[in-house]
């Protein structure tokens, strides 16, 4: 068995780039799943849920672009959306939502997961004294903005769920 790291810090450009790639994949998963929800439940979606999903997909695309700009600064390639979309499609049957509640619950999981990911990443960057080849302040500002938007997303979905 090989020794494992017990530090919760981001120690290098490579490690940071990999974590940002994971963030991009998480956003792509949200986009792809939201798109599938549209397709599956198209006729049944009411205006409120439809707007919620449209806004979520748009926000994920925006987050993805911001993450891509960061990893471009690190000289690392992005993860092609088409690949992730086909993986989501291939696995979707296992987790296909049956009704509105499932769609909203899935959306809540998306937002909560993304929030947790960015929150942990920010903590790990703040706990590290590593020097990255992109501006540390800009990195933390971007991630904090994205995290706060995810928190807002959790609040919005929860409100819609509570009204139903």
């Amino acid at each position: 068995m090989v020794a494992v790291s017990v530090s919760q810090r981001v120690a290098s450009d490579d490690q940071l780039a990999r974590l940002l790639q994971i963030g991009i994949v998480l956003e792509e998963v949200v986009e792809a799943r939201t798109h599938r929800h549209y397709q599956q439940l198209d006729a049944e979606l009411d205006a409120e849920v439809e707007t919620l999903l449209a806004d979520a997909a748009e926000e994920s695309a925006d987050h993805r672009e911001r993450l891509e700009a960061l990893i471009e600064g690190l000289g690392v390639e992005s993860v092609p959306f088409g690949e992730i979309e086909s993986l989501v499609d291939a696995r979707y049957g296992r987790t296909r939502p049956e009704d509105f509640d499932d769609v909203l619950y899935d959306q809540l999981c998306n937002e909560e997961t993304a929030y947790k990911f960015y929150d942990d990443l920010i903590e790990a960057i703040e706990g590290s004294d590593a020097v990255f080849s992109i501006d540390r302040e800009e990195l933390l500002t971007t991630l904090t903005t994205i995290r706060d938007e995810e928190a807002e997303g959790v609040r919005e979905v929860t409100e819609v769920m509570e009204r139903r």
Binding site: I22, E72, V79, R91
Partner: protein, 147 residues
């Protein structure tokens, strides 16, 4: 995955390979920490009812400890499989070890929705290769996006 979970996962794997209680030395070696650090965390795990430590014998996980250790091992397998099959990372074990502390269980569960993990996971984990024995490396890695 927090530090306690990393310890639980390690104790679980060491116990399995030693077919009995895990010695503090083996746990410290596997985690790359000093025996004193390992002892300190083992004490905390005991206080939380997750492990039992018997002098000169070693550490044994309780039933609650085993449940958490298996969850942690599963999270680790998800990270490895995701790195190997989705991001086509060659040295996925080393990267998984680096990243596991920063990847939470809920995040791993989301990544799990796009990988093809086997139902026997995490029993298929092989400590020698530090990877799932069922893991197949993607024959056609994800093509990098053109810049």
């Amino acid at each position: 995955m927090n530090t306690a979970d990393q310890y639980l996962k390690t104790i679980y794997v060491v116990q399995d390979s030693e077919d009995g209680p895990a010695s503090t030395g083996s746990i410290a070696d596997a985690l790359g920490v000093s025996p004193a650090s390992a002892n300190e965390m083992i004490g905390k795990l005991e206080e939380r009812g997750l492990a039992e430590h018997e002098k000169y014998k070693g550490v044994t996980l309780t039933d609650d400890g085993i449940v958490r250790a298996r969850d942690a091992l599963q999270t680790y397998c998800i990270i490895e499989r995701f790195l190997a099959n989705v991001l086509a990372v060659e040295d996925f074990q080393a990267e998984a070890r680096e990243l596991e502390a920063v990847i939470d269980d809920t995040v791993a569960e989301r990544l799990d929705t796009i990988i093809d993990r086997q139902p026997e996971c995490p029993d298929c984990f092989d400590p020698e290769s530090d990877a799932c024995a069922c893991l197949e490396i993607a024959p056609t890695p994800v093509e990098p996006e053109k810049q």
